[in-house]
Symmetry: D2
Subunit: 477 residues, 4 copies
């Protein structure tokens, strides 16, 4: 199976160039001058498929390094399965996800790892990798960290919040980080001070402040800034590289920026929700259907931040300055009916999560159109750096010979309307971005050389996606 994508503008992390891309089987065979007939040989006639990308962008497939498919959480389970979630991802131009194997306190890490493989195997529309969550840090967990790195799971996530569920105490974090410093694994952190948040939540609920808006108020920026700083210090102490997930507060960004200026390997990820949505507009929303519970649609953690305080503006800047290096989704969808509504009378019972694996590439492209970031930076934030950060570069994240044929043809003259009943393939009964209009369009998506989405239609097969083993981070300084 040979495919030639011709006449497109290939965009990579440092710039662009007009080029044809030849895919042979699952991998890219060559990148050529447009229309190249290579010393007399007519390529176009010798391939199976020709995609004309004239006037369009040819980009490495999106990599969403933070998703939670069918994750059991808060007494329910994230509503997208590996099947539905990865299919939605493909629709949106994302050709790889890195999902999280969950280990709750008391469980065995490797058992969980096996269980997650079973969940995902044969289900996925696109390639997938795993991070491993560590909650309590048993001696066996430390041993497992070495085994998992060998298995291609080179990143471990810990939580400074969610007591009794995920929370690791600082000593446990240090123990795991010591192992990371030793075997080269990247340590990921959910950085919020859970002890403080638990108190504030309890006080709010007791005071009768039970609407979703209070979710934001009870997770103040200080709780995020504090935990971010703490994680940085623990990493500094141990020498482990640190990756802070879903950064939303500008003060947390500043902590990361300072550590980086000091030469420490500290990285930050943000998500579209922290760029576009806010405490005021979303957590504080009301609707005819839901009243003030409308805000439940956007209950996620870290929470949406106040627009008045300028977090969103600062976050776009941080994407430009590379103080924040990546954009993932933290895709963790729940339906309003039957899931989010568990918290109808108590916001603390609302499952935390927003789904947007389908829209990340579009939403970030809109950032290009709106002048927040450059075209190259779009690719860097959504594909190249995720690949480098998590040890996939070369196979993923770049259009070059030998790389997987994970390619998106993106039309800057196309248009995408986000919303239920429009483009919406995630298993959610609402869209977190209902009504958003994007000045661009995902035309064609190839996963390892095979077209899986064409003209908004899924043309792949369940199970096309394969697990990939990742190496150590290629982004460390």
């Amino acid at each position: 199976m040979k495919t030639l994508i011709k006449n497109g503008l290939v965009v990579n992390a440092t710039g662009t160039g007009l080029a044809d891309v030849l895919i042979d089987g699952e991998t890219i065979a060559a990148v050529l001058a447009p229309g190249s007939n290579l010393l007399g040989f007519d390529l176009e006639r010798n391939v199976d498929t020709v995609i004309d990308a004239a006037g369009k962008y040819v980009i490495p497939g999106g990599i969403d390094a933070h998703t939670h498919m069918q994750m059991p959480f808060g007494g329910t389970e994230a509503s997208d399965t590996f099947e539905t979630g990865t299919r939605a991802a493909a629709h949106g131009g994302t050709t790889s996800i890195v999902d999280f194997v969950v280990q709750y306190a008391g469980e065995n890490v490797l058992d969980q790892y096996k269980a997650w493989h079973e969940k995902a195997a044969g289900q996925c529309a696109i390639d997938y990798g795993f991070h491993q969550i560590l909650s309590d840090v048993q001696d066996s967990s430390l041993v497992a960290m070495d085994e998992l790195v060998a298995e291609g799971v080179s990143s471990f996530k810990m939580f400074m919040a969610y007591k009794g569920v995920f929370l690791s105490d600082d000593g446990q974090i240090v123990k795991a980080m010591q192992k990371g410093a030793e075997n080269g694994a990247l340590m990921m952190m959910h950085a919020e001070n859970g002890s403080v948040i638990d108190l504030l939540v309890e006080q709010a609920v007791r005071a009768g402040n039970t609407s979703p808006y209070n979710h934001g108020l009870t997770r103040p920026w200080q709780a995020e800034e504090e935990a971010t700083h703490r994680a940085i210090m623990l990493a500094n102490l141990t020498g482990a590289p640190l990756y802070v997930v879903h950064v939303s507060a500008k003060q947390a960004v500043d902590q990361i920026a300072t550590a980086r200026d000091n030469g420490q390997n500290v990285f930050g990820e943000t998500c579209p929700q922290y760029l576009y949505l806010s405490l005021e507009d979303n957590l504080g929303a009301t609707s005819d259907e839901w009243g003030p519970f409308e805000g439940a649609k956007w209950v996620c953690s870290t929470p949406l931040r106040s627009k008045a305080e300028g977090h969103q503006h600062h976050m776009w800047q941080a994407l430009r300055t590379n103080d924040i290096q990546m954009v993932s989704t933290d895709h963790c969808p729940f339906c309003m009916k039957g899931q989010k509504d568990m918290g109808l009378t108590d916001f603390s019972k609302i499952p935390n999560g927003i789904g947007s694996v389908e829209h990340r590439m579009d939403l970030m492209y809109q950032g290009v159109v709106d002048g927040h970031i450059s075209l190259s930076r779009w690719v860097e934030l959504t594909s190249t750096t995720p690949a480098r950060m998590f040890g996939m570069y070369g196979t993923k994240g770049v259009i070059q010979p030998g790389a997987d044929g994970d390619i998106v043809v993106y039309d800057p003259n196309g248009h995408t309307s986000i919303g239920v009943g429009k483009t919406h393939h995630m298993n959610m009964d609402y869209s977190a971005y209902e009504g958003y209009e994007i000045d661009g369009h995902v035309d064609t998506v190839l996963s390892r050389g095979k077209i899986v989405v064409d003209d908004d239609t899924y043309v792949g097969t369940k199970g096309d996606g394969r697990f990939f083993k990742r190496g150590l981070s290629q982004y460390l300084i």
Copy 2:
């Protein structure tokens, strides 16, 4: 003329990949999977030249964005002509330079621009571009800035030192920056407080402190930090992007880092001399031949900084953290005999400058070997970012179809001994890096598809190098 570079490890700014590179005429036609016979067609048999790069790095040719060939300065002239200097550059794996058109106070900018074209035309071994120096800022100079941008000279350098020679006062700087903010040109700055330095120099000489070591003492870090901050504020006021040349003081680095964290388009360049050499070891050196005047070999401005104060260590870190984005040479060679010795009894009469256009790629590669920077960062610092910064990317600075065939085959198993009588093609009677041993070697150098250096031998022709028109910076955020 067709050339295939096969089996090398192509290194770009974000990572590496094994690939063959096909050059057709002056430009790269394709990058292909190694040994690719593209659907049955045997490339190797259909090209004129095959270079086997197995076990070697294939990198975009070095871009030295800061050189001064045959510049009249300090009563003499930099000792490398465009001919000798660019030939030496080619030997060292540098395939492009951006040199400076000098306008001294009272001169007409466009007259000077023409004069520099006459100096360089038909002389160069490799491609060259120009920055324009502005000293006084006449009304005609502001008009000329627009014309020069259209001519492909999109960057303008000013000086905060060298009164009566180069110095612009702050009002003049703002005037030029306002124009830069308007037409998109990048403003470059020699950031040292000349007024303070002139006083300290005068006091030192009057006190009989006349040896080269005093060159360092009379240009303290405060003078650089201050001017750097001032340039940043003037750029902030006007909205112009700012590029600070030859940063040597860690405190100046910090000023740049702070401005960047704040989202300002501020960039910094350092040079090998600020990474490897020091006040103590070099400006303070003595020799049998020259006594304490030995230090004159390393009299350049900004000066070499104190090792005890840790500037060099901090500068390597800044290269890792991207607080400093590029490495150029500020190549400005003078011979000891007949030039540097003009200052035998008064350091202030020593022509300021060090030559190292030939050794930049090697010296920075040694930084990879020594663990200071990664392989990709080497390419980014010496080629890709210079290309982006100065509007050449796509044509220069990257190995991709359509780009110029400016390529270096670099052997990590080779070795290079630096010194007069060893590798030394610059027109200098000494080497600033005498005795340095490099764990790598420039094997083959192609300039626009033509091999110009092969196995330490220059095989090009005078005048191969062409002037290139640059666009606006592609590195702005």
Copy 3:
């Protein structure tokens, strides 16, 4: 002549205490427990005058360390003479001023010093000292610095703006600072980048933007921040202590705070106008009488800053955090008619200056009432620190035995209405604070033991005030 101030709350810089103050002749003889009859001896019966201060504050007389009486400037002369200005000061509870001897470029420092003594001698209502302005730094000026320190003039002011009038270049500043580092004098700086401002003013006027509002726009915060940083670096280089006058931009405050955190002897003064007035409300004001020229009333340099940018709010905070240590007035009054109106068609011709020597103590007390600062901090900012900063402490700035009887009885239950025709003893045809209402009142003012203001009536005699010799700063760390 013996006076007993009884039953008042004595306020000093660290706290308060109920106490009687006994003044014998010109100095304080004792501070005693209220009603103390000292072992049987009835003080009250043995003094000439008893002032009942029950329910009132007894504070050391205000010290305004920055005034310009009858200063020739901008083609006219500040409208308050030493006589009128010091009388107004006394009305407002200020018992000492430190005024500036002007040396314009080309003039001889000691000649000027003598001339200023002649102007002031026999004129003043309260004690006065001098700072010496240095513009060009002649060799004779450096010699004069030593002589002046011996004369009790231990502080020297320089300007980074006002080219051709006051401006010193950076080399001249360093030269003077080297002398200051040697003889212990405090170096004061008007920190604005004059070269930039001159350009912006010229551009504004040429563009027809001639109203007073443009005075603010053409002196942007960057010009102040830059010069402040530069002054700090020059001081750092030389080791001289630095005192930045009339700080108005929050970014300049931050530069001072950073230097202080680093242990450098850097100090900052602000003025009531930078706490209460703004670009929008004042420079941008219009009136029936003056139209947009109304703003001329508040043309001073550094300029009033934008309220929207939050400078005033930040400045109050800096007073609390001691990042700014003192409040002076920069009293430099000009009448609207015949003086300010010189700039009716060109803001750059408006004499720069605001008069408020009379209102500083009241305006800052209002800061206590409004909760910005504490009672002790009020005394510290307006009297104790000025005394320490400028080498007067012990004689001035504190209520303790041996100190001059410079005392104000301030009534927190009184009221003061500011405005022409209300309280207004300065020689100005308008008030910069017209309509301000103060929740407190200056009841009685003693200067060296003599009551000079009582119940809003001046009861002193012209020439009561004496020149005082100051020592070196007592505030250095």
Copy 4:
């Protein structure tokens, strides 16, 4: 009982002045011009005692706001009782201490408070106050906080270390801080990350690294910096004022400085051990008697820091810049024999603490002699600010009418040799400052008007000291 201290140089926090001090009964009646015969009345003849302080300093008695007399800790009890400890304090010129009521987890706050009163009542040589320690934060503890503020206990200390003993979790800290923000109490924090330290200690001991030196290694600066930052953020969240005890790491100082620059009410205390002693010289010491266990003498927490890292140097600077506001001792003495030696084979069993309540005034005066701080700053750091910080000013911390007659006559021409068998009144079998020589001497100490130490002899009576009720902090901005 009337006493006149004549002809001394009275030193207060802002400066000095020659004055006589008259004490009548327990309080200061007057401060007078030297030799004042007040309008004809001869004081000297009318008092009971005259102390000639000519050539000496007359200062407010030292206030040591951080002591632990007979505190049960680590399976033993601090070796100084309220009797021995306060007597030693008096010998050293300290006339007030604020000691800590301990509440261990599970205990009732008010019960403990009563118990501590019983321990101290009738025992003390000087006046004493109490801070209350909170470990777990029971609902009753929050109620008790209000009651204790009314009782004159206006400051509460919490611990971020010592799990199972003192440790409060972050939610508990917030709960207590919310109360502090409400009732105005000052929240004190032992800021070290106990969870991390416990792990490092366990790892060290398991690895056989059991000598006292490892005490320092297992409490790295990161653990202090982190907890300091965390405490600041929790205070920021709640609005409570924060006082960080025994700051030793320069990085923690920087966190405090940053918070203060931002206008937050954050304060820091250091101790003589963090100025004079070090990891290398003391924790790493060996002796004939004890071998490497010699270091046990200086096992305290926070630990002595590395001299090579420059903490001590930075701490002196912070005392000058007021980034650290006070010097206390954290006096918590243990004997080597029978106490410290419990950790002979395991440093983690060594009771944590150093005794120096006797030497603080001398050691800090040596800082004046050595040029680290000024004379006024000495008084401010050791007496005036402690009084203001903890709500005692007016009664303590200043020499003014109405204040307690707590006065020290200090001889700058005297000399003090520190060491067992020299001056040593603390109940310890070694001195932490053995061999230190001080260029000054405590001549006479008065506590509430009564001479308690004269010429190195204790002349007071057990039980002279009274409990004093403190008000809210007078130092808040």
